[in-house]
């Protein structure tokens, strides 16, 4: 009997009772946000004094988890269609749907000498393996596939493509040197080049990243793929948690949030591509 009590205590005892210590705000975010949202998350903690946990994964996987009851308070997707999907499933609140960024794709290599000058050059045999996030459920992978098709090299390159679960894993494949280059989110590259000016959107010239082994990236012209409209929404049904979720969404859309997002290479809603150029 004692053992059973100890067991129950282990299983349930460490959870705060409702109404006492608040559980952290749970944010499910697309993998391309993993650097920018760490920073915005820190800002949220500092401002509200409340804790926050971030779960990163491919947008499609997170949307599936939320549809199946994943207890997330905020869902930040890499593509708006997935936000519509969880709203359609009745898990997230349509009135809180907010466009917060426009994503950009980059081709990244650990070794700057390996980086192609143009996307078409990927067909050269020296690129034995090219990583991208799985286009089936990762918006950045889908955009990368579209860019390859637009450049007319998709069929030729197909046998050499390596699919990662999400865009961060694609980056990791290249960072560990297991593929020559990877299609990543520009926002994942920026951390390696802190303070460096963001290249013009249409630019197709390789740029060396800032820090030591930061590698180098080639920004893919946005004309080559459909726009990556990133949207977020507040999920769940608890009013208190919804209020906290709204606060986080507002923080991302605030001037300070937008400044962080811009620093990681995102375009912001309301900024047209033409304006940047």
């Amino acid at each position: 009997m004692k053992a059973a009590c100890a067991l129950l205590l282990l299983l349930f005892g460490c959870r705060p009772a409702p109404g006492t210590a608040p559980e952290p705000l749970r944010v499910a975010a697309a993998a391309d946000l993993s650097l920018a949202f760490e920073e915005i998350g820190a800002l949220y903690r500092a401002e509200t004094g409340q804790s926050l946990s971030l779960s990163f994964g491919s947008t499609g996987l997170l949307a599936k988890q939320i549809s199946e009851g994943g207890p997330f308070d905020v869902f930040a997707a890499a593509n708006v269609s997935f936000v519509d999907q969880v709203i359609g499933a009745g898990r997230c609140d349509a009135s809180t749907k907010t466009m917060y960024a426009v994503g950009r794709v980059a081709l990244w290599s650990r070794d700057p000498a390996l980086l192609p000058a143009r996307i078409e050059d990927l067909k050269e045999p020296r690129f034995r393996r090219v990583a991208l996030a799985n286009p089936e459920h990762a918006p950045y992978g889908k955009a990368a596939e579209e860019a390859l098709r637009a450049a007319g090299i998709y069929e030729e390159l197909k046998p050499r493509l390596v699919y990662a679960e999400n865009v961060r894993q694609a980056w990791q494949f290249a960072e560990s040197g297991n593929v020559e280059v990877a299609f990543v989110a520009l926002s994942l590259v920026r951390s390696n080049a802190v303070g460096e000016a963001v290249a013009p959107t249409g630019a197709s010239t390789p740029q060396a990243a800032g820090q030591g082994s930061g590698g180098a990236s080639l920004v893919i012209p946005t004309e080559l793929h459909r726009r990556i409209d990133q949207a977020m929404a507040v999920c769940g049904s608890d009013p208190g948690r919804q209020a906290a979720g709204k606060r986080f969404v507002e923080l991302v859309s605030s001037d300070r949030g937008r400044a962080i997002m811009r620093r990681y290479g995102f375009l912001l809603p309301g900024e047209s591509l033409a304006e940047i150029r």
Binding site: L10, S55, F56, E68, G69, P71, Q172
Partner: protein, 220 residues
Amino acid sequence: MDYLPLLLSFRIAIVATLLAAVLGTLLGALLRSPRLFGRDLLDALITAPIVLPPTVLGYYVLVALGRSSRIGQAYEALTGSSIVFTTTGATIAAFIGALPMVVKSARAAFEGVDRVYVEAARTLGASPLRAFVTVELPLAARGIIAGTMLGFARSLGDFGVTLMVAGDIPGETQTAALAIYDAIQAGRERDALGMILILSAVAIGLLYAVTKLTRSSGER
């Protein structure tokens, strides 16, 4: 290094292993009985998680305990939270890995007990239950403990089923195995290294102890 995922891993593995030890010992004793109908089929069913892909196990758990399942809905009506994507879900994932380890070892240990002792106890007037608890169980204890240690090592290391059933939520379902995956994906290998070393040391230590324990039981 962030020790939270490691603590969570140990907490989940301890609960899962305790449950697996109790149920696994009973199942091991049941499977030893030659009169049990369909004994080998039941054994195969219980052992299957050792060889099945985590995705298959994860699928079964989602179907059986997910939010649209009857059990999942009943649990949610009672507690207000789902089984999947919670610490409870992660514990179930760990339990599934641990159970066959205990059952296999317990069955072998019970089968190694000389029936003469059990029959002697019965002749002296002990009830079947008393003979089991006071004679058979102590004689099989080493094997059961070894199996429990293997089960603990296995549940500590679960990755696939946990990811599918419990997600990757820091502080709730992000066990050390998941945190390592996360850290490596994010290029934070230094964060992962501490957990990698600790998990490796625990696994090797447990396997070493299991070998020692089972060998001396054979020599006895």
